[in-house]
């Protein structure tokens, strides 16, 4: 029978900041950019996010997503309506640009690489998961996405005040992480010591992403080497 959603994430060893320009009112409504070529899935993810009090922009392709982000311009991650994007959730299998390709473009961009990207896929293909996590995806969620997944993501993004020790993180996190498989709701774990932080551009930092990410109640696969070849 159906169980709690499966997701995979890296065991982060650095903190990453999420810049939030809407801090004036103190409200921290997250703005999520959702990318999926399926009508049905866009509608569902939009509802999941709205019910979790997030602002949503749902687009149908990687190209549209990049347009929305204004990747062609020199701006930081401000969309058409001036709203900062706090999280990108993208389907993996899309015609044209795949979610992986979108992920790469985002991580290669100095303006946007700090935005956490979550990949969603109906297919649990381990090399695919590896590849996405290594490229810097925050998490890989097996579809269908559930409310508990969104809640977890939101908590993850919102938390971090207490984790913010002035540690600044780098955003190209590949080749430095191993990862956990998690098949159950997360429990907290203590973070490993972060590496020395590289310089980062700063704006007003409201949120940052905690390195004490979930699951170590997870099934850590001990046979897996820390550094995996790119697939």
């Amino acid at each position: 029978m159906a169980t709690a959603g499966e997701f995979f994430r890296r065991h982060l060893s650095e903190t990453v900041e999420v810049f939030d320009q809407s801090s004036s009112s103190g409200s921290q409504e997250l703005h999520v950019l959702a990318v999926d070529d399926s009508h049905v899935d866009r509608k569902v993810i939009e509802r999941l996010l709205k019910i979790s009090s997030c602002k949503v922009t749902a687009v149908e392709s990687g190209t549209r997503a990049l347009q929305f982000l204004g990747l062609d311009g020199e701006q930081s991650s401000v969309g058409f309506d001036g709203l900062k994007v706090n999280l990108i959730m993208t389907d993996y299998s899309m015609p044209g640009m795949t979610g992986y390709e979108l992920l790469k473009k985002i991580k290669e961009s100095s303006a946007f690489r700090e935005i956490p990207v979550v990949i969603m896929s109906s297919e649990k293909i381990l090399p695919r998961i590896d590849r996405c996590l290594e490229e810097g995806a925050e998490e890989f969620i097996v579809k269908p996405v559930k409310l508990s997944d969104v809640k977890r993501l939101k908590d993850f993004l919102m938390r971090g005040e207490e984790e913010k020790n002035g540690e600044k993180g780098t955003n190209k996190r590949k080749r430095q992480d191993d990862y956990n498989f998690s098949l159950s709701p997360p429990s907290s774990s203590s973070p490993p010591p972060p590496p020395p932080p590289p310089p980062s551009s700063s704006s007003s930092v409201v949120d940052d992403l905690s390195s004490s990410l979930r699951p170590s109640s997870s099934i850590l696969s001990p046979e897996r080497p820390l550094k995996r070849p790119r697939l």
Binding site: A2, V40, K43, V44, S122, L147
Partner: protein, 151 residues
Amino acid sequence: MDSVTQLQGQLVDYTTSLFNEGYLNDQYTQLQQLQDESNPDFVVEVVSLFFEDSERLLNELDRALDQQSLDFRRVDSHVHQLKGSSSSIGAQRVQNVCIVFRNFCEAQNVEGCLQCLQQVRHEYSLVKNKLETLFKLEQKLLAARGSIPTQ
């Protein structure tokens, strides 16, 4: 027993049977939980999108499987989409046929694909029928009173 109670009972029974017979799975329940007063038609809207998508994809599949030289990747791509959307609304039986269908695509088995197309059309029309009946029951209940019972 007043008509509202009766309708409520019918609705619960009917919904339960759909789950028991494997037409719907927990994902459908997830969708129901996303519906509220601010979004009272959410489930119907999502399911309608599913119907639209499915009909389009089934027509594409008809075309793709009608070719002289079959492009299995094209067929697989459509089935993958159908599998995805059926999974997103919890249409378990449609989803299951899609899984088998994709295996036949991978094996480049024409006969298997043709059989699956027939089967997936059949399952789709069954679940469409069931869901439409379900929605009609809900409408009747709404008309008779106010809210739909939560599961």
